[in-house]
Subunit: 410 residues, 2 copies
């Protein structure tokens, strides 16, 4: 692996010499190449599908794995959208003159070599490669074993465009050992790799976080809450709560627990139950909730669970302070919402809770690069440092200071 990574590091300097226009042109060529060579990709995908059926992969996993002409067209379009993003490297983020008359500029630069560990969906291969190329980073891709044939085929198509442009194929590298041992080695290669982004199940994230010596940006779970305050517009509150839970329950920005202000709990609990029950939501309630409506009791483990399913905990809390206390105890720092018309209550909630995204009178489902307007997203970071929450292509850059002098000494 060392030699392979040495090549990646050596290749990374080539990227710094490419003009922005050239990078864009190459990405458009890559999109075209995906279309032209779709037959090869589909053939490789059929091999993965066959193995998936043999090993009885779940229907959901098989669907994620599956490619057809339409899905390859989407991949090509995604690469074109990334090509069209504003150049992320070389932005002047700040600049000033110091007391020695030095002109100091803070400028965005690529991170260097980025390892991305992901599962199932083959489109992540082309998306991530394109995002890294656009931001002048070398990517080391470690896809899921079940998608190996598809990933190799997609990477080959992208690498063929690199070759046509006299660039090293190491700029888009695919790790050949897609086992946990391969991951274990990669995440300790801090002399070569600058950042690891694990996207996948809790087990993978935990393993990478605990063992990496390379910096990690996690894409971990979201245990999100919505708090309905006594001063809420109840119709607004119910719409938002229903959207946050049921519009797409399997994603990290969906709500897991609804918090209801004690002052209005008795008045609105039946309506909450009726509305969710119509949508087949399985409800569990805290001690105070189960007195008001006839649903099973939620225990400590329930309040700590990211269901990723149409199941909802309901808890009655003592106003905004009770909501803050509950969220501090159970929240995962992803997305939290308050529904209220009272500005002082809203300020308290928005100031005192620490999470990547806080919402006033809106659904937590908006925590997403697309909804935030980032154009393309690397993912949703649950890190507290460097990149937090929806992570656009800027998250794949860091900065350096360039200091312009005229002979200054200290």
């Amino acid at each position: 692996m060392e030699r392979f990574l040495e090549e990646a590091v050596a290749a990374s300097s080539k990227l710094l010499e490419l003009s922005s226009a050239k990078k864009t042109a190459i990405l458009l060529e890559m999109a075209e190449a995906l279309r032209e060579k779709s037959a090869e990709i589909l053939e490789a995908n059929r091999a993965d599908m066959l193995l998936a059926k043999e090993s009885n992969l779940s229907a959901a996993l098989v669907d994620r794995l599956y490619l057809d002409e339409a899905r390859i067209e989407s991949m090509a379009v995604a690469v074109e959208q990334i090509a069209a993003l504003k150049e992320p490297v070389g932005r002047v983020l700040d600049g000033w003159i110091n007391e020695n008359d030095l002109k100091i500029e803070k400028v965005s630069i690529p991170i260097g070599v980025v390892g991305i560990i992901y599962e199932s969906r083959p489109n992540v291969t082309s998306d991530t490669a394109a995002l890294c190329f656009k931001s002048s980073n070398v990517c080391i891709l470690k896809g899921g074993k079940e998608a190996e044939h598809s990933n190799v085929a997609i990477a080959k198509v992208l690498q063929s465009v690199l070759k046509q442009n006299s660039l090293p194929t190491a700029l888009i590298s695919l790790i050949s050992d897609p086992s946990r041992a391969g991951v274990a080695k990669l995440i300790k290669m801090d002399q070569y790799v600058d950042l690891i982004i694990p996207r996948g199940g809790a087990g993978l994230i935990e393993f990478v976080s605990k063992n990496a010596t390379v910096s990690v940006i996690k894409h971990d779970k979201g245990l999100c809450h919505t708090y309905i305050d006594a001063d809420a517009d109840i119709e607004k509150a119910l719409n938002i709560a229903i959207n946050a839970k049921t519009q797409r329950p399997g994603v990290c920005n969906a709500m897991e627990t609804l918090l209801v202000d004690e002052k209005i709990a008795a008045d609105i609990m039946q309506e909450i139950m009726d509305r969710f029950t119509k949508l087949q939501t399985e409800l569990k309630g805290c001690e105070k909730t189960v007195v008001l409506i006839d649903i099973p009791k939620a225990n400590e483990a329930d309040f700590n669970t990211e269901y990723l399913a149409n199941i909802l905990n309901i808890a009655v809390v003592d106003g905004v302070d009770g909501a803050i206390e509950h969220i501090r105890r159970y929240g995962s720092g992803h997305s939290e919402a308050i529904i209220t018309e009272n500005i002082t209550t809203a300020q308290k909630f928005l100031n005192l809770i620490d999470a990547a995204a806080l919402y006033l009178n809106a659904s937590t489902r908006f925590t997403d690069g697309g909804a935030f307007g980032f154009g393309a997203e690397v993912g949703i970071s649950t890190n507290k440092l460097h990149a937090r929450g929806p992570m656009g292509i800027e998250g794949l850059t860091t900065y350096k200071y360039i200091v312009y002098g005229s002979g200054q000494t200290r």
Copy 2:
């Protein structure tokens, strides 16, 4: 340690409720308390000094450890300067309206609980505690064993001001076990601690980097270069090179290796030798250098050494490309300078080298929070992510998104 850290986390929410004016007032009280209780601090320091003499600590270490009224006054002034900094929390870093008419704001917030591991100088205790308090972070301080009495006395003074203001003393916590075992435990407490900043020797930094599960911002070595290009103003070049090496050789932004363009090496090498020899600099040269002047040969290990002393390697390189190649091989990504009057050469160097700070026609010695105009500095980060290079108080903040809606759902 777990209970101790639980208290720290619990205390952290108190800081979010303090107004900016209140934080400033408390910091000014702390500065006053340091002056008023200087006798107690000096008495504790005498105990450390006594132990230092018994254990034959080096003169340099003893000097770092030593406190007197003047040094305590400096500590108090430093706290006042930190009190006067612009409020680092609640800055709106970015803001926009998305296509759903949500108003999205990116706002600076404290990191949370910050562990700082440092050595010798007792003033780091008050500096760091003040920086963390100003940025609404809880600090967990782990000072050097040799400064334990002094650090405890200083922390007690600061904590007494917290108590007078009905705040938990856990906001400024000092770890009682200043051994490596204490460090080993602290850096794995990722459920309580958000960031570890190690400041100290290479052994400590290496140990923390390899073993921490908490995020780390390193303050590691600087192996800095200055490249004199054929198109340099030679007088400017010599002044800058001499300043970079000799003004304060023991610091991380001092130059270790001087790179000289082959085209002018024969013309200027004797002058370089004469100027440095006058300042007692010990010189070592590459193969090509030792042909031109009579100095010992530098080996591979020399080019990899941060001397922290008045010793300099000289290497002849093949123009700016040779300089870039040398720096990519030996540089530590700290500070690198080019001396040239040619704009195309300068652009190449400044674009293609990856380091925290790059200088055109100025000394690398300016890589420092004070020189950059940051007012107070946490240190000089050698991390690539989150904070890079001189790290002002903003480096102790992260951000969250606050999203203002009016009932939006997806």
